[in-house]
């Protein structure tokens, strides 16, 4: 049962991890995007629909990522250019994405696709315990394993990464270096959207192989919340996402064993868990929050 839950945790957590990593980058640049939920949902739907139409999950994956990016661009434009309230814009984008995907997705609800299947890595997947847990997944899961250290390196050891972080902390410094904070923010938010779109795509074409209306079920919101839990660190985002995945896997495992617990109480688990981990982390002083996010969070009129 432990192997089953751990494997399930990684399988279910990958989509959230994609979105969370993207949000780490966007928030490091000083923009919080609740529309991540919308980007994920858009990515999940577009990836599924394009995979169905073309028969190629790879084209579907690309399209899903781009869909997520497009939703993020709306956010970027309104927040960066028009200085609209970040939280309100993000929520409206969720609403927009829910409407659009429910509308366009009704013909796809019970369609079948040939999505991305788990690939067992030779030799490694034969290791007892570790093998099935880590080395028998779809290719996107392996990709996200690689992205965690890559993004960490990018943020802390590359020059563009330093500029990006400076944009979130003291944009006047970036400005004085002759770089454009606006451009950097656009790129960061777009990257966040792309990642959320890929995460959504993983959900529909690799994890479940189905499209269901509003199938992300708040995963994008959880991804944003987990960034705070992660203290804006990619490695801890990984921990957070797989904790969420663990709660989901536990729920499935318990349900599969016909436990006498109402499924509705189990459905709550991931959301309650997210609240609990946030509670534990935030009780301690938050010092690592990027400076320009603090303004959004503490309700400075945020350009509203």
């Amino acid at each position: 049962m432990i192997v089953e839950i751990l494997t399930g945790a990684i399988r279910a957590g990958t989509s959230v991890l994609f979105a969370s990593l993207g949000e780490v980058v966007a928030q490091r640049a000083g923009v919080i995007n609740l529309g991540t939920e919308g980007s994920m949902l858009g990515g999940a739907f577009v990836a599924f629909a394009v995979t169905y139409q073309t028969g190629s999950p790879w084209i579907g994956l690309l399209a899903g990522g781009l869909a997520g990016l497009l939703f993020a661009l709306i956010h970027a434009f309104l927040v960066i250019q028009r200085r609209a309230n970040q939280l309100a814009v993000g929520l409206t984008i969720i609403f927009l994405a829910q409407g659009l995907t429910a509308f366009m997705g009704q013909d796809y609800v019970d369609k079948q696709i040939n999505g991305l299947n788990p690939i067992a890595i030779p030799v490694l997947s034969d290791i007892p315990f570790i093998g099935p847990v880590f080395f028998n997944h779809d290719i996107l899961t392996y990709l996200v394993f690689l992205l965690v250290p890559l993004i960490w390196w990018f943020l802390f050891y590359s020059k563009p990464g330093v500029l990006l972080r400076a944009t979130g902390e003291r944009e006047e410094v970036v400005f004085s270096l002759g770089k454009s904070p606006t451009l950097i923010r656009y790129l960061a938010v777009s990257f966040g959207g792309l990642m959320a779109g890929l995460g959504g795509a993983q959900l529909s074409i690799a994890f479940t192989h189905t499209w269901v209306e509003n199938m992300t079920q708040g995963r994008g919101i959880i991804a944003v919340a987990l960034v705070i839990f992660a203290a804006w660190l990619p490695t801890r985002a990984m921990l957070g996402a797989y904790l969420f995945g663990g709660a989901q896997a536990l729920q499935l495992a318990l349900q599969g064993r016909g436990l006498e617990v109402s499924p509705f109480l189990l459905f709550m688990l991931p959301y309650l868990l997210t609240l609990v981990v946030l509670f534990i982390v935030e009780r301690r002083k938050v010092s690592s929050m990027p400076e320009s996010l603090r303004k959004v969070f503490e309700g400075e009129r945020g350009g509203g």
């Binding site: 434009f77 309104l78 927009l96 509308f103 919101i221 609240l275 009780r283 938050v286 009129r301």
Partner: protein, 334 residues
Amino acid sequence: MRRFWIGLAFVLSPFVLFALFLLSQGANPLESYQAMLRSAFGDWYGIGEVAIKSTPFLLTALAVAIPARAGLINVGGEGQLMIGALLTTWVGVFYLQGVPAWVGVPVLILMGALGGAIWGIVPALLRQYARMNETITTLLLNYVAFFTVGYFVHGPLKDPESFNWPFSPKLDEALRLPTFGSTRVHIGFVLAIVAALVVWFVIFRTRVGFRLRVIGGNAIAALQAGIKVNRMQLLAMVFGGAVAGIAGMIEIAGIEGHLRPMTGFGYGYIGFLAAWMAWNHPLWTIGTAFLLGAISVAGNALEMTSGLPSSSVSILMAFILLTVLAVGRGSKAS
């Protein structure tokens, strides 16, 4: 004159965008808009339906607007409404059978308010004692509320007569809100308008409201002026939640008569749109809630005439708010 045309272009742009969207889906935008208008405002029945639909939107909009005045973004109207509806049904079904309306209805309103207030005070406390952002906690708590209602309707509150599509037992006929004449319009609509007027009065004409607005303007200055910021914000969330909870009570006692897992689903988010379209001004929310109510009703017409699902109007709603957010408030202060 030039400003007038620019203003007009902004007002029309979401509708033009939506028309383009309809066109791309093979529907005739002009015919669709015509059918939408006719269904919402073509006759008294349509207008009545709009009034019924906009009632919960107005109340959940106020649930956003009150905390917003204190600098908080409450997206929990959705969950607050659901818990209000849950508590209303629970008390109504189990404890108020055979109780006369003049006792029962006020008790139910209180129960709705209590349920919503509980779901509002939790994020307020989490903000104050654990520095958790209320936007994120209220969003997460919406899911918890949804599954809580699901648990009760499938479990302890399930009507034994309901099978695959479970619902709770019915509320006593005596506890249902009275309606006007032979229409479906119930007094909840009047209640909501009165609530908006009261909220406006408190915020703009009383000392408490003044303090609230100072906090929303600049929390640090408010602290320095000796205003108890935490307590005021807590109050704002409690009252906001209570108002949304009353919307839940009205859905049960005014419309549905029993609780379903999907009762009020989505109303909280539409209320959020209504509040932000009105820049969180309580009086303007009457207008925006009515507009969104009309669009909701018109969505059904869209389904009948062009075969598009009624949910497609939520795209139009999102377009409208995105336009409002893009235009910004200009130089107008809160």
